[in-house]
């Protein structure tokens, strides 16, 4: 659906995006993670056509227009407009006729729970309402690609959960979504694929499911230090390691866990606790950006 080939962008001497290649398929929800200054916003702006790449090519493959809706990180609104008028304006810019405008604006208001506030001026709306209005405008005209830059930035936990719920609904409706966020639990819940940027380059990419499974492991906590068993375990399987009183089995060493525990018991160790851990996105993120 959209393809970036060797795209680079510099601001003065700072490389915001460095020879980045990426393909996003239709219906995918791509999460973009990375530390501040990694190039997330620049990447979204380039796809939105707001920033021109210095090198490389961005090929959007869209069948119909309107194609893109964009929610900036810090979305500001024309405060003098009413909520409904703002959405009607977006509808007109998406070439909807009067009947379609009425229908889509009503649906968008209902979907975001803003129907009762439709006639309210934006300047009198709360932060949460503005965030929801930012989401409502994404729906108008049914654009094929939605670009969300830190959609839950600055919201309380209820507001964040609300955003996650609505992005999931958009995903279920088959929209292609690119979402940049620092909220890792939110990304874990909504994204089907993940990229982690650092210094303008993709340092990690995987499907969310594979990313979380590949680093699953078992931790066996014992009563004594296990250093003297380290050589034996390494011989058993390279994916077994020791750290203080804990033995760690990587995913590939899972079938050996019973045998290993028997070995520990035979050697006089007491097994205090066994933990089956799947990696969190935070673990992956910390590993990549370290």
């Amino acid at each position: 659906m959209i393809e970036l080939k060797n795209v680079s962008k510099s601001y003065y001497k700072v490389k915001a995006i460095d020879r980045l290649s990426l393909t996003v398929q239709e219906g995918e929800v791509l999460g973009i993670l990375g530390p501040n200054g990694a190039g997330k916003t620049t990447l979204l702006k380039m796809i939105a056509g707001l920033v021109q790449p210095d090198n490389g090519r961005i090929s959007p493959f869209f069948a119909t227009w309107p194609t893109i809706a964009y929610k900036p990180e810090r979305q500001l609104f024309p405060n003098h407009l009413r909520i409904k008028s703002y959405l009607e304006m977006i509808a007109k810019l998406s070439n909807l006729n009067r009947a379609q405008t009425e229908k889509e604006v009503t649906q968008a208001l209902a979907w975001t729970g803003l129907s009762d506030a439709a006639s309210k001026k934006i300047k009198h709306s709360s932060k949460g309402m503005r965030q929801r209005l930012g989401l409502a405008q994404l729906l108008i005209g049914r654009p094929q690609l939605l670009l969300l830059d830190e959609p839950s930035n600055g919201l309380d936990p209820t507001g964040q959960a609300d955003i996650v719920r609505r992005v999931k609904q958009l995903q279920a409706a088959g929209r292609t979504i690119l979402i940049s966020s620092h909220q890792l639990h939110e990304m874990t819940e909504v994204c089907t694929r993940l990229i982690i940027l650092k210094n303008g380059r993709i340092r990690y990419q995987n499907s969310m499911q594979a990313a979380l499974n590949v680093t699953a492991h078992v931790l066996i906590h014992t009563d004594k230090k296990t250093a003297n068993m380290a050589a034996f375990f390494a011989q058993m399987h390279p994916d077994i390691s020791t750290d203080g009183k804990t033995v760690r089995l990587g995913e590939r060493a899972f079938p050996l866990r019973r045998q290993m525990m028997m070995q520990l018991l035979r050697n006089g160790y007491d097994i205090l606790r066994v933990e089956h851990k799947t990696a969190t996105l935070a673990d992956i993120y910390a590993e990549v950006v370290r």
Binding site: A48, L50, I90
Partner: protein, 277 residues
């Protein structure tokens, strides 16, 4: 496309007129009317009316365009911009809104001035309208190049630098060319002393041309460029436009088209960095 441009034009104009800026400009127009056309006088002298309001129109158009371009250059408009199939639609709306608001302000002043009864013949109006419109359109296009909205890197400096150079050439006599010619001759002597005879010879020839006919040639060239303005001023002063002078507004529109195309090129290829606020 027309629906989108029309929607944005209406939005930008409405926003400007009902903002503090809009009120300030309306007050400015009223103050101008009060100062230059005493409300107690009868119908104004046509030449005075024509000349003063032409200048006022162009000036206020320039300022309105700058202000409006500042208003549209805000990050609240990102969602609007990404919806458009072409960025040029956004620029066209800015152009039309600036022109519309300026004509409204100029029209307000022009109508107020005629409060005590217009005394102009239809033929005089036929002279006046094309000149006003062409000057206003021209002013919008040059003001766009002064705004952050259109400016890309050093483009504003290049644009106004070239205009300043042309204006200064148009306004200077031969003295600077003689001075420059002397400097070039001494530079060519230095080159010649350092064994660069061929380059020195070329520079010498150029210096000689500059001393003899450069001023005249360049002056003719810039006079040709600024001819539409001179023709309009002369036409107003002479109370009628010759057939040749009547072409001046059309030439001015050609300039405006060229500047507008340059603006579309800059705008279509720049990184959009709308400001917060």
């Amino acid at each position: 496309m027309m629906q989108r441009i029309w929607t944005l034009t209406r939005y930008f104009s409405h926003r400007f007129i009902f903002s503090l800026n809009g009120i300030i400009y309306a007050v400015l127009a009223l103050a101008f009317w009060f100062l230059f056309f005493d409300p107690r006088q009868g119908s104004p002298d046509f030449d005075h009316y024509f000349f003063i309001l032409s200048g006022f129109g162009a000036g206020i158009t320039f300022l309105v365009t700058l202000t409006l371009a500042g208003q549209v250059n805000r990050s609240e408009h990102f969602p609007f911009l990404v919806r458009l199939p072409s960025r040029v639609e956004y620029l066209t709306a800015v152009f039309l809104a600036s022109l519309w608001v300026s004509i409204l302000l100029q029209g307000l002043t022009a109508v107020l001035t005629l409060y005590n009864g217009p005394d102009f013949a239809a033929g005089q109006w036929a002279q006046l309208i094309p000149v006003w419109i062409s000057l206003d359109i021209f002013a919008v296009t040059i003001a766009l190049h002064a705004s952050d909205f259109i400016t890309d890197k050093w483009s504003r400096v290049y644009f106004y630098g070239i205009v300043a150079v042309l204006l200064s050439i148009n306004g200077t006599e031969n003295a600077p060319y003689a001075w420059l010619s002397q400097k070039l001759i001494s530079f060519s002597r230095t080159l010649s002393n350092n064994g660069m005879g061929s380059v020195s010879g070329s520079i010498n020839k150029f210096a000689a041309w500059m001393n003899s006919s450069a001023g005249d040639t360049l002056h003719k060239f810039t006079a040709l460029i600024f001819w539409p303005f001179t023709a309009i001023a002369n036409g107003i002063a002479a109370h009628h436009f010759t057939p040749k002078q009547a072409l001046a507004p059309a030439i001015l529109l050609l300039y405006a088209i060229a500047f507008y195309l340059l603006a579309t090129d800059l705008w279509a290829n720049k990184d959009v960095e709308f400001i917060d606020g």
